[in-house]
Amino acid sequence: MIEVGALRKRFGDTLAVDGIDFAVARGATAALLGGNGAGKTTTLSMLLGLLLPSSGRIRIFGEDMLRHRYRVLPRMNFSSPYVDLPHRLTVRQNLTVYGRLYGLASLSERIDSLAADLQIVEFLDRQTGKLSAGQKTRVALAKALLNEPELLLLDEPTASLDPDTGDWVRSYLEAYQRASGATILLASHNMGEVERLCTDVMVMRRGRIVDSGSPSSLIERYGRDTLEQVFLDIARAGDGGAQRVAAQ
């Protein structure tokens, strides 16, 4: 589904992503894990085509993303709390505009169905800018699911949400993934979330993938009880320390 090879992104003197390789299988839920500035969002941006890599390869659905992204984009979507939908448009207007951009047939029915699923019916006609953080997250998710994407990229999907709303979003994503068979790749700081949702984890540090595996295999390899402890071990081990810590 996703194949990334020798992917590199340099901003001036800073190497934000340093030659990473990874693959995500169809139907998997994978996570890019890492601290601030590890390169997660930069990697997601390159997968989305919003950011051009300095070098490397990205293949999604077997297509070269750098050459044929318009063959890929209709089959994927994205949500991030850091990228807003227009505030002055109502939720329904925003979903209508994006639905039309994706060329959806029966758009009204699709919006109504998503609104019911995501419990946003009551504020469909409210301005998007007047919603709470939790409501905005659900609306952003509705926008991301409009085209029933085969690949869903999520940047910190539950950032700044209260525990109840965060749990609700995670449950929804689990249900969506089960029902649709979609592939999900998310970037997150939330170890509990990653442990619960993901089958594969790639831990990033300073633009590199320093370790990867399933949450349980990482926990076992590092001799820890939780993914958070593994993350802290890796974060504090310094450059090249991840494999060393795992080997101890």
Binding site: L50, V83, D84
Partner: protein, 279 residues
């Protein structure tokens, strides 16, 4: 421009074109206009105020200036046509700014929307904004000053189109600067066009300008249009030489604006600015 960049732009252009996506973005700007009556009022306000000020000025000069007395509506026609260009440019630039203000570029460009489709939707919205702003002002001038710009006849269509296209070209160049420098360059959207006003010879003939500035003027489609307008009003002739010069220059401005905009868009993708740009 590298060969790879050119090839990439050409490939994106070939990869499919959808009027439905252009209509979707146009709908987004219309929703925005509908959601705020002050925005719609603002579109009407400046052209109407300009028309009122220049209408009274014209009435005064009719009895005090042989130049204006020769064709009473010359200043009113000039101010309305100037507004066509200004509103045409603003229509592109402000719709573009709406996306920066709402930090919406990230969502737009993970959808199948092509950058050139976005450009076409900005242009379509510019036509809507010009019609909302300038047509009512032109209609108000008829009962207020007994002057109808529509008496220019078919040349009016040519003047309108030529100025509008120049406005689009400028709007795209300003859009490119905004993509490069972000909202720090926001005021360019309102100010840049006035840099061209003196050389555009809106209210006076090009011959009034210093010799060196006349060379600059003849490089502006607007100067040809306003000379052409005065020829229609004073001499009752449609000057084809000015028409073709303005049309050729418009083609250059629009092509240059479009190319610079698409290159700035690609540069924004290289710098990661599409996700970061906003208030």
């Amino acid at each position: 421009m590298t060969a790879a960049t050119l090839e990439s732009i050409a490939r994106e252009a070939r990869d499919g074109f959808s009027p439905a996506r252009i209509a979707a973005i146009l709908l987004r700007y219309l929703y925005l206009l509908k959601s705020s009556w002050p925005r719609t009022l603002e579109l009407l306000y400046w052209p109407a105020i300009q028309m009122i000020l220049w209408g009274f000025t014209s009435q005064f000069l009719m009895t005090n200036s042989s130049y204006v007395a020769r064709a009473g509506g010359v200043l009113l026609a000039a101010v309305m046509l100037w507004d066509v260009m200004f509103r045409g440019q603003l229509g592109v630039s402000v719709s573009f700014l709406e996306e920066l203000w709402s930090r919406n570029l990230g969502h737009l460009f993970v959808s199948p929307l092509r950058p050139y489709e976005w450009v076409l939707s900005l242009i379509a919205m510019s036509v809507v904004r010009v019609i909302i702003g300038v047509v009512p002002a032109a209609l108000f001038a008829i009962p207020l000053y007994h002057y109808s710009i529509f008496t220019l006849g078919p040349p009016l269509i040519a003047f309108f189109a030529l100025l509008l296209i120049m406005g689009w070209g400028l709007g795209l160049i300003i859009g490119a600067l905004l993509l490069r420098h972000g909202l720090g360059a926001e005021s360019l959207a309102w100010l840049a066009v006035y840099l061209l006003a003196p050389a555009s010879a809106v209210y006076y003939p090009v011959s009034v300008l210093p010799h060196w500035l006349q060379y600059v003027a003849w490089c502006l489609p607007s100067a040809h249009v306003f000379e052409g307008m005065r020829a229609v009003m004073f001499e009752h002739v449609f000057r084809l030489d000015h028409f073709f010069a303005a049309a050729a220059l418009d083609a250059v401005y629009l092509a240059f604006g479009g190319a610079v905009f698409l290159l700035a868009f690609r540069s924004a993708r290289q710098r990661g600015a599409l996700l970061q740009m906003g208030e």
